[in-house]
């Protein structure tokens, strides 16, 4: 009897986590909303009463434009006579696709970058070895031998570019013919010669942590929204190779792919910082040392031992990022730089909304409301996950 009482029902990690999450009422409400939205996105063709891109044809089409909500069109029609409710239902597909794709890709990319930065912090990698440099350690693997040759091309290619820029700039000065310009030219030439010589004999070590952290700092310095605008304009241009490729592969949905790519480009920064901080402390743990002592490779220690221990904050981060990505996509589409019509998204349905509120308010309110509800649901779910996954919080 006594032993019977002491025996606790074994609980799996997931079971415990689910029990804790269920107590967070708003998170559960958020989860329900998200599941409903996903169902709506999957079954859009069956739910939507009309084709979201179908425009009325025939004579006197003007009577179908800007119809207020009625029994036939529950949320009215827009400036081209399309059914607003159907566009909202189909819009959920884009929003959720963008949200999940961006969050998933940036968490993967951020985890890889953050893990590399954290794990190799203070352990610079041999990045470049000059062709004439004598080896101290005799043997190195084939991959590095290959990289060694490749890095010569990189180094001297960069040097050649620098030289050509310096030369083109110097020509202007030399034509003017002042003493200072000759001096500057001579100095630049000396510098390039020195760099070429150093490249033959020298060795460059690369601290991955410094490189990645500086890259993150640098990307955070660039003003985000203007850069997003510039990038999306650039990638949408059919004259640019990437734009052509995207158009060819994705057709009408090319702008969706482009938006996802752009958002991931800026989305991994936060995750990378988070993971780097975690890995920095985790790699000092005894189990990491034990794995190393048993002869595990760097890759195995990183991805089998360290990364699984950062999963909890990663899941929270990913959930919150889904909401963030949906918001940013909507903002870009609102400004006309995101996903292009005729594809319906909640953001581009709002593009001209501030003009329509005077004449057709039913066009402005529902898409904004859907964005708000979706983001709110993801934020609450993220909050609930944080509480449920944090061992210090008592629920």
């Amino acid at each position: 009897m006594a032993t019977q009482a002491l025996k606790a029902k074994p609980r799996t990690f997931f079971g415990l986590f689910w029990r804790r999450l269920r107590r967070h009422k708003m998170a559960m409400a958020g989860l329900v909303v998200i599941v409903l939205l996903i169902l709506m996105a999957i079954f859009a063709p069956w739910i939507a009463p009309y084709d979201p891109t179908a425009q009325p044809t025939g004579e006197d089409v003007g009577q179908y434009y800007f119809n207020p909500p009625s029994r036939e069109h529950l949320l009215g029609t827009d400036d081209l006579g399309r059914d607003v409710l159907s566009r909202i239902i189909y819009g959920s597909r884009i929003s959720l696709l963008v949200g999940f794709a961006v969050a998933f890709s940036s968490v993967i990319l951020g985890t890889i970058m953050g893990t590399l930065a954290g794990y190799f912090s203070g352990r610079p990698l041999r990045f470049y070895l000059g062709p004439l440099r004598r080896e101290r350690e005799g043997f190195y693997p084939w991959s590095f031998a290959l990289w060694r040759v490749f890095s010569w091309f990189l180094y001297y290619g960069a040097l050649y570019m620098a030289l050509s820029i310096a030369w083109a700039l110097a020509k202007d000065g030399l034509q003017a013919g002042s003493l200072v310009s000759y001096l500057g030219f001579g100095l630049t030439l000396a510098l390039v010669l020195w760099a070429a010589w150093y490249g033959l004999k020298g060795e460059i070590r690369l601290d991955l942590d410094v490189a990645i952290s500086r890259l993150i700092d640098f990307m955070l310095t660039i003003p985000t929204l203007p850069l997003l605008l510039v990038l999306s304009a650039l990638l949408r241009d059919p004259g640019v190779k990437v734009g052509q490729w995207a158009q060819g592969v994705f057709g009408d949905a090319a702008s969706v792919f482009i938006i996802i790519a752009i958002l991931v480009l800026f989305g991994w920064l936060g995750t990378a910082r988070l993971v780097r901080g975690n890995i920095l402390s985790l790699r000092e743990q005894d189990y990491a040392t034990a794995a190393q002592a048993l002869g595990a490779s760097d890759a195995r220690i990183m991805f089998r031992h360290l990364v699984p221990n950062t999963l909890a904050p990663l899941i929270v981060q990913a959930t919150l990022q889904i909401g963030g990505a949906i918001l940013t996509e909507a903002a870009l589409s609102f400004l006309g730089f995101g996903i292009q019509p005729p594809v319906a998204t909640w953001g581009n349905m709002l593009t001209n909304a501030q003009e329509y509120i005077f004449t057709a308010p039913w066009l402005a309110l529902p898409p904004g409301f859907m964005i708000f509800i979706t983001v709110l649901a993801f934020n609450y779910l993220g909050d609930g996950l944080r509480d449920a996954l944090d061992p210090r919080s008592r629920l």
Binding site: M26, I165, A168, L169, R214, D217, F218, L220, T221, I222, P223, L225, P226, L227, L229, V230, L231, A233, L234, R236, D237, G239, V240, G323, L327, A330, A331, F334, L335, L350, A353, Q354, I357, F358, P361, A364, L365, G368, F369, I371, F372, V375, L376, N379, Y380, D383
Partner: protein
């Protein structure tokens, strides 16, 4: 500390150079250049005239040459002319647009701060009370609300729906800046208070729309920060030695809880200078955000470059200032 500051300032130089290269390259790679637009407007332009224009704009030279020429002028303070407005880009950005943005975004930042700190403190002190739940819910609403939707909602409510349905409800302006001039105040044509009132009247809705997100975030942050401090041992010590709850809260807890807020505010200031493209678009307010957006659309590269480079510089500077301020308010932090 001094050595650290100098080192950080020196590290900023390559960072800013790299940022300006990237921004310049992205602008130059934009589809279509300004000349094509001119050619479209004037189809009878001959090939020679086109070439002459190209030389005049310096577009006949390769990209890297153009960049270094821009850089060498920019460091001497010459940011070129705005193609659209025919005035120096620096004057357009720093005289016409920046002050307006400072008013709008500065007010929004101040409002967010003034509301968020007391509300966050209240919410933390009354943890798990009804008021706390309401405040938490409102802050979740605040940072889930897209600013363009909030702006449209405010416009619809205060400029259309409420004035239509409630007789006597004042109709709020739908945007823009008031048509009152500071010169008229100086010459005595209109009173100062009328001038101020007009500005306040026009700014209420955009300021609310712009500040809500930050207000919600900072309220949440203030609450979490104060709760964290209140669970520390030294707070229990302070209570145990018989200090009044007021003293414990304001002298021991709040001052420590405010430390992380300093960093947050420091990091938010570059955003203030950058303006708010979306809020300015909805309320047709002529600020920096809209200026950058229009410059990008109209390919007014000197203006876009001036504004974006200025923003990058400010972001880097305020990052440093936030770190330094952190060390000033928290003596445990030492930079070497």
């Amino acid at each position: 500390m001094f050595a650290y500051t100098v080192r950080r300032l020196l590290q900023m130089i390559p960072l800013l150079l790299a940022a300006s290269v990237v921004i310049y390259a992205l602008l130059a790679l934009q589809p279509g250049d300004p000349l094509e637009e001119l050619k479209r407007q004037n189809p009878r332009m001959t090939a020679e005239q086109f070439e002459a224009l190209k030389r005049a704009y310096g577009l006949d030279q390769p990209l890297h040459i153009r960049y270094f020429k821009w850089l060498s002028r920019a460091v001497r303070g010459d940011l070129g002319y705005s193609r659209t407005y025919g005035i120096p880009a620096a004057e357009y950005i720093f005289v016409q647009r920046l002050p307006k943005t400072l008013i709008l975004s500065g007010l929004a930042l101040t409002l967010a701060l003034v509301v968020a700190i007391p509300v966050g403190v209240f919410s933390a002190v009354r943890q798990y009370s009804l008021a706390d739940y309401v405040i938490t819910f409102l802050s979740f609403v605040g940072f889930s609300m897209p600013v363009f939707f909030l702006g449209i909602l405010l416009l619809y409510l205060f400029a259309i729906w409420l004035p239509d349905h409630i007789p006597g409800f004042p109709r709020f302006p739908t945007g823009g800046v008031p048509g009152v001039l500071w010169e008229d105040v100086r010459s005595g044509a209109i009173s100062f208070w009328y001038f101020l009132g007009q500005w306040a009247w026009h700014l209420i809705l955009p300021v609310i729309a712009l500040s809500s997100l930050q207000m919600a975030e900072w309220t949440r942050f203030m609450r979490a920060s104060l709760l964290e401090v209140l669970s520390q041992d030294y707070i229990r010590t302070a209570r145990a030695k018989g200090l009044a709850e007021r003293v414990v809260l304001y002298k021991h807890a709040l001052r420590n809880a405010l430390i992380p807020i300093v960093t947050l505010v420091g990091l938010a200031i570059p955003g203030v200078l950058g303006g708010a493209t979306i809020t300015e678009t909805i309320f047709s307010y002529p600020g920096m955000g809209r200026a950058i957006f229009d410059a990008l659309v109209e390919k007014d590269y000197n203006v876009a470059m001036a504004a974006l480079a200025f923003l990058a510089l400010m972001t880097a500077l305020f990052n440093l200032l936030a770190d330094l301020a952190y060390a000033v308010v928290d003596p445990r932090i030492r930079y070497s």
